[in-house]
């Protein structure tokens, strides 16, 4: 991943450099946050918090990693905070599923698929999404980053501030847990 945004310009508070940063990373950060929290409004709020933190704390960025890695780390931390608050029942919001988001005109499908197949895939995603909600917070984040967003183990390790082996273990256990949950769903709803 190439960082084209000048960190020096950001550190001087240049609005142009910040706008460039928004252009380059808003989709990536929003998609990552959305895939973890799965709520549109909260994903937008968290994305705004991420960019606000970046703007106010860029002076502390030492340049020892890519700015994208630093931003992903902030985003993951904010998501973890949200998930903790959510698990304590302190936050609530409108739950917008992938299906609903996909149906909006702003996100047209990039490739054609038969409507029947498309519908079935949507259903699978919803089933998987529900199963993923039962994973631990770290398993869910690591699995989402790897499986949905295509981050490498190394990138996830940097973003989550864990070792690469811990990430491998988290994803392995997440996959095992999902297999168990989906097997139970299959027995109950499909193979009756």
């Amino acid at each position: 991943m190439i960082d084209v945004v000048s960190v020096t310009a950001l550190q001087t508070g240049s609005p142009e450099a910040f706008a460039l940063l928004v252009d380059q990373y808003s989709d990536k950060i929003y998609r990552l946050v959305y895939s973890i929290v799965q709520r549109q409004e909260e994903a937008e709020d968290i994305t705004q918090e991420v960019f606000t933190t970046v703007y106010t704390s860029v002076d502390r960025f030492k340049g020892d990693a890519l700015i994208s890695t630093w931003m992903y780390r902030i985003a993951v931390n904010k998501c973890q905070e949200f998930l903790r608050k959510q698990s304590r029942g302190k936050r609530s919001g409108k739950h917008v599923t992938y299906e609903q988001v996909q149906g909006t005109p702003q996100q047209p499908s990039s490739s054609y698929m038969h409507p029947g197949m498309e519908l079935e895939k949507k259903e699978r995603r919803i089933i998987l999404s529900n199963a993923m909600n039962q994973l631990t917070e770290q398993q869910r984040i690591a699995f989402t980053m790897n499986k949905q967003e295509g981050f490498s183990y190394e990138e996830i390790a940097q973003a989550m501030n864990l070792s690469k082996s811990s990430i491998e273990s988290l994803i392995f256990r997440a996959r095992k847990q999902l297999q168990v949950l989906l097997a139970a769903y299959y027995d109950e709803h499909i193979n009756r």
Binding site: G13, P15, F18, A19, V22, D23, S26, D27, I29, Y30, R31, Y34, S35, E44, T47, Q48, F51, T52, Y55, T56, D59, R60, Y98, V101, Q102, Q106, Q107, P108, S109, S110, K121, R124, R125, I127, L128, T144, K147, Q148, E149, G150, R175, L178, Q179, L182, A183, Y186, D187, I190, N191
Partner: protein
């Protein structure tokens, strides 16, 4: 592969390449207005030297105060002792 296992694998893989969600234009505009909405004062960083200097100053002030209280207490005790000796002397007379 059994149908059940196949179904599970396909479901787990249903997220592959699902990257269609994008930030709305409204959100992007909100993000771009962050430098305008945030007060410039917030970005002013306090140098670490100043923080240490302030901490040292506070510690020094606290130290001086403790020393002053200790000295005052000692002086009061000494005065009380002199007064007691004086009254004892008067009583003896």
């Amino acid at each position: 592969m059994e149908p059940k296992e196949q179904w599970i694998e396909e479901t787990i893989n249903s997220l592959d390449g699902f990257k269609q969600v994008t930030a709305s234009d409204a959100l992007k505009n909100r993000l771009k207005s962050i430098p305008i909405t945030i007060s410039p004062g917030i970005r002013v960083m306090v140098p670490k030297q100043s923080i240490w200097l302030a901490a040292a100053s506070i510690a020094l002030i606290i130290g001086i105060n403790i020393a002053a209280i200790y000295t005052t207490q000692q002086q009061t005790t000494a005065t009380e002792s002199v007064e007691a000796d004086y009254f004892t002397y008067l009583n003896q007379l």
